[in-house]
Symmetry: C2
Subunit: 239 residues, 2 copies
DNA sequence: ATCCGAGTTTGATCTGAATCAAATCGTAAC
DNA sequence: GTTACGATTTGATTCAGATCAAACTCGGAT
């Protein structure tokens, strides 16, 4: 009888991802019930504190993840200590580099976060077996590529003021609103991290923020909490 | 008898891509004989002169291509004319943005080039039907993403001298050597294009090139033809 | 051969952002 | 509450690269 019920379950009822509680992720949304059950046996939900490193640059990582909550920053570090943030990822993004063992960048929680962790070997097999999963990951890779190239334009050709406005606009667009006012949000990054994202120094970031404040484009409630009275104006300055 | 011979051909003999004369491309390498025959009926080889635009930023493109020969540059332009080159592509790279109709960047031949042109609709169908093709394109997207992020580090955190050295090293690594000496090559880009790739001005690029020349790191035969006596030194300056 | 013009190099000067240096702010520990 | 310390802001000065301006190079047209 157990077997019979199990069979029915397998055929008709959708299985939820044990970590996501659903099937909303890039990974678990693309799997069959049988695959998801197998994945459930080997994946786990993990809480990570702000600042903790998920993947280290130059290391071999044995797992991938899905972001459930929070913001993950992708960093590249030079031997002399210079650092560049090369991407920000939000829920429900996939984190990891399929097909290559050694990571050329580090992934670090910018805020407290929760991630769904999958073993690399198992997921690699599922990618090879599941065109829809491959398609989802391909899609995300292409979106990240578009974002990276947009950011190359920002880094190469925009002024400090435009850079800061671009970042605020990016965060306002991607972060979940903190209050009912959709134009208020908490910065997931410190001034130092913003500087490392924009190719600037902390002092320049700080000065540009106060300039935007004095011009009435933003309100700074405290250094992390920002309100944008006129989002269109912010966007105009970005471009 | 014709039919019988055709059948044997279908089963055993590999079909060559009409444009590539082979199956070396990202696209045609992944297809079955039957698919390749269909693709052959609808694809064509095209010569493009240096400077001619293959895809326009903001336009809908109805085709993809494979680079057979030459160098293609990917550019992003701002409304006020500021420009950033966000990628260089070499044979046998794939050119195009699967899954999105409108291009957010322009693709332009940096040198005289030859490309294999495929209709978008047909190739989209083949991607959906052919996991190996999807895998190849996914792979290329991830490699381009790695390259874009490496370049973000260059744009955000490297000095003008390091930027120029990085570019010379990139070209030396990717371009086919022009002579027997593997450290001599022709720049596929003008000073203005190099400036747009590195987020600098032409004057700064020129000055850094002469500095490298005076330090004995490179020889400039004419403004386009470069010889690198000590590639390790060049690489050291890049990092 | 000479002329032309785009592309490149070189020079002089300026400026936006970096660097150096202090003063505040915020908050966690006591 | 007071202390202490890291994060942020603000100020003064410097500098790498931009801008403005003028030669120079070289390949192609006449």
């Amino acid at each position: 009888m157990d077997i019979a019920r199990s069979e029915v379950f397998e055929a008709g009822t959708p299985v939820a991802c044990r970590s996501c509680q659903a099937r909303h992720g890039v990974v678990c949304g693309a799997l069959s019930n049988a695959q998801l059950k197998e994945l459930n046996r080997h994946s786990l939900r993990r809480k990570v504190d702000a600042g903790s490193e998920i993947i280290a640059q130059g290391s071999e990582s044995s797992f991938y993840s899905n972001i459930m909550r929070g913001v993950i920053k992708l960093c590249k570090m030079m031997p002399d200590g210079r650092q560049q943030i090369v991407g920000l990822q939000f829920a429900p993004d996939f984190v990891g580099r399929p097909f290559v063992r050694e990571s050329t960048l580090s992934a670090e929680a910018a805020t407290d976060a929760e991630i769904c962790v999958f073993p690399r070997n198992l997921l690699d097999r599922m990618i090879a077996e599941t065109p829809e999963l491959q398609r989802n990951l391909h899609d995300q890779a292409l979106n990240e590529l578009d974002a990276a190239r947009e950011w190359m334009l920002t880094l190469g050709r925009r002024t400090a003021e435009e850079k800061v406005a671009s970042l605020l606009h990016l965060i306002a667009t991607h972060a979940e609103p903190q209050t009912a006012i959709s134009t208020a949000f908490d910065l997931p990054l410190s001034r130092a991290e913003i500087a490392d994202f924009l190719g600037l120094t902390i002092e320049t970031v700080s000065r540009q923020m106060t300039r935007l404040r004095k011009r009435g484009v933003i309100l700074i409630e405290n250094s992390r909490h920002i309100v944008v009275p006129d989002m269109a104006e912010l966007q105009k300055i970005s471009a």
